[in-house]
């Protein structure tokens, strides 16, 4: 049953701590949690979002806004460090992550020009399961990511009324602990923006990021 007042915010920083730029979501989550998040805001970190996000939302009808922060691979028109916010409840966010077309309804650092090459693709998932793909496809239990989490929560009816995904274009998701320079440079701005957006949501409802 929906909470009468789903007024809390859950921020989930996603990524892999030893895969260079893929740790961006974790770093941002750590920054947001540092010193204690504001009242009404919870911050969690996960390296396995497909399982953890649905688990975090189970029984939490008091969550009105879910914020997911993650790195993503990008097309050639959007250099590493470029970031934007997708508003999953206002457009086909799942398709955006899967197929690469930015969500026209979302606003953020980038414009969404129809017909342009896809710039965001969730590196950990593919659109349809395939057998015998010879790689880490959807049959790899490590494969499912944010998209699968959103899909599962949607099916379960546990997805909050509002879901924002902040994605930053990664340059390098190979092994290592260091962020690339452009992604490292983006983290501060993303952290500030998320903090500001969430504060706006808490105080007045929607936040239209421009």
């Amino acid at each position: 049953m929906p909470s009468a007042n789903p007024s809390r915010v859950l921020i989930v920083g996603c990524g892999a701590s030893l895969r260079r730029d893929d740790q961006a979501g974790l770093r941002i989550g750590e920054s947001l949690a540092a010193g204690g998040p504001p009242d009404g805001v919870e911050v969690e970190l996960t390296e396995s979002p497909a399982g953890d996000i649905p688990a975090l939302l189970e029984g939490r009808s008091d969550i009105g806004l879910l914020v997911i922060v993650d790195a993503a691979t990008a097309g050639e028109h959007h250099p590493p460090g470029t970031w934007r916010r997708f508003d999953c409840r206002r457009g086909p966010c799942q398709s955006d992550l899967r197929d690469g077309e930015p969500n026209p309804a979302s606003s953020g650092a980038l414009d969404a020009s129809p017909g342009r090459k896809p710039w965001v693709r969730d590196a950990s998932t593919t659109s349809e399961p395939r057998r015998g793909d010879g790689g880490d496809g959807p049959y790899d239990l490590h494969g499912p990511g944010v998209q699968a989490a959103i899909e599962l929560c949607t099916t379960l009816g546990t997805l909050p009324a509002e879901v924002w995904v902040y994605a930053v274009a990664a340059a390098d998701t190979g092994y290592g602990e260091e962020l690339s320079a452009p992604v490292a440079a983006a983290i501060g701005a993303m952290t500030c923006a998320i903090r500001e957006d969430v504060r706006g949501w808490l105080t007045g409802g929607r936040c239209e990021r421009a």
């Binding site: 049959y139 899909e151 099916t155």
Partner: protein
């Protein structure tokens, strides 16, 4: 059906990559393999030269599901190599975390990986549509297991607070009480889960099998964290230090993981059903009660009932965790230093991780650096037994006149019933691949 070719690449809802290939000609099996095509991991190689205290933190990365289990086997092996006896409190905290890991792993397997087969859906996503309450329950239960590990050993995977010589994190009373309340509340979900499992139509298949597990001799504890090696065909306990007398490894061409045999049988099985078969008397009464309701009795030789045994063990772990928390609260958790090494040498350790008995062995030189290691993973021990099961199951399926698709599903369900962790198992060296 006299001629059948089954070629599954890859088996789904298992950890890692494995292929089933079966050929039947004129009613006879001409080819049957569970081919493990995962890349080797080389953990035993890159442990060499590392300081002794790094072993648990490196080897726990073998698995993201049973990382506490690898940690437990690793610290016990290294503590044996270093002449360390840890405190009772450290062992209790490790055991509590171990229960958490068993719970999260069993719930993951039963609810997310195995149950979809029985309910006729392809994965957890459609299961969420057809049985949302089951998925929500599974999410709650699995999160509880994760949170136990997180609170007790610092992370829900790859624990950071378990070290050679003890532990370095000490949960507060209120944290333990919170876990206890949630564990007690989870009994209701477990009852529902057991009720669901009772309704599943488990394939009727048995094959005479040796079941190998750890066992506590004397204190009546259901062995998870440690114990001696026993089996259903040889119940005389063997100390873990002598594990090579019970486990015989060999390389096979079609698998990046070794196969194992025992002195008693060309193949054997480990895992929940093996533990259940060897340690039924040590189960918590509540777990025995659920086993009775599910119709599970030792010695059960139907591998599909490994799923059932996991539910029984989940009940046991829930009750054992509650009792462990009570003990810790009565004693009062106090900060303790790590016990330093008294020597360096050779040591073996073993734990019953969710998928079965796991062995770690290290040789440490005089400077405290690892010079040798041997890791024997549960799934590696099960692979030959799975193939043996498949060889027995295929003729039985052929007699039923079921379709090729139904046969394929049955074989996939058989593999999944073992809850294989293929990535864990692939670690062998010195394989000569032939074209």
């Amino acid at each position: 059906m006299n001629n059948v070719t089954i070629d599954v690449k890859h088996v789904t809802r298992v950890e890692g990559h494995g292929n089933i290939s079966v050929s039947v000609r004129d009613g006879e099996i001409t080819h049957l393999q569970l081919a493990i095509v995962e890349s080797p991991r080389f953990f035993e190689a890159f442990l060499r030269g590392r300081p002794y205290y790094e072993a648990p933190h490196i080897t726990c990365r073998i698995c993201g599901i049973c990382s506490m289990g690898h940690t437990a086997a690793s610290v016990q092996a290294m503590e044996a190599a270093c002449g360390i006896t840890i405190t009772e409190q450290a062992k209790m905290l490790r055991k509590l975390a171990f229960y958490g890991e068993q719970l999260q792993s069993h719930y993951l397997h039963v609810c997310f990986l195995a149950v979809p087969d029985f309910l006729g859906v392809g994965s957890v996503i459609p299961l969420a549509g057809t049985h949302p309450d089951v998925v929500k329950m599974a999410l709650r239960l699995k999160k509880l297991g994760n949170d136990i590990c997180n609170i007790v050993v610092g992370r829900h995977i790859h624990p950071v607070a378990v070290h050679v010589g003890g532990v370095t994190h000490f949960p507060r009373d209120e944290e333990l009480l919170g876990l206890k309340r949630r564990l007690e509340a989870s009994r209701a979900d477990l009852t529902v889960l057991a009720g669901l499992v009772a309704t599943l139509k488990v394939p009727q298949f048995t094959r005479d099998t040796e079941y190998v597990a750890l066992k506590h001799v004397g204190n009546g504890e259901y062995a998870f964290y440690d114990g001696d090696i026993v089996s259903t065909k040889d119940p005389k306990p063997t100390k873990v230090a002598n594990y090579r007398k019970r486990v015989i490894e060999k390389v096979v061409p079609h698998s990046a993981a070794k196969h194992c045999s025992s002195p008693n049988a060309p193949t054997y099985a480990v895992g929940s059903l093996a533990r259940f078969n060897n340690n039924f008397a040590q189960l918590h009464p509540a777990a025995k009660d659920v086993a009775g309701k599910l119709g599970l009795k030792p010695i059960c030789c139907n591998p599909f009932h490994n799923n059932t045994a996991q539910v029984v063990e989940a009940v046991h772990c829930t009750e054992a965790a509650v009792e462990m928390i009570d003990l810790l609260l009565i004693r009062g958790v106090k900060e303790e230093p790590l016990v330093p090494p008294g020597k360096f040498g050779l040591g073996a350790g073993s734990s019953e991780v969710p998928r079965g008995v796991l062995f770690h062995e290290y040789g440490v030189d005089a400077k405290g650096r690892i010079e040798s290691s041997n890791l024997i993973i549960p799934t590696g021990q099960n692979l030959a037994n799975i193939e043996a099961d498949m060889r027995a199951l295929v003729p039985q399926l052929l007699k039923t006149k079921m379709s090729k698709e139904e046969m394929t599903l049955q074989l996939e369900m058989l593999v999944r019933a073992y809850d294989p962790c293929i990535s864990c198992a692939t670690h062998l060296l010195d394989v000569n691949w032939e074209d």
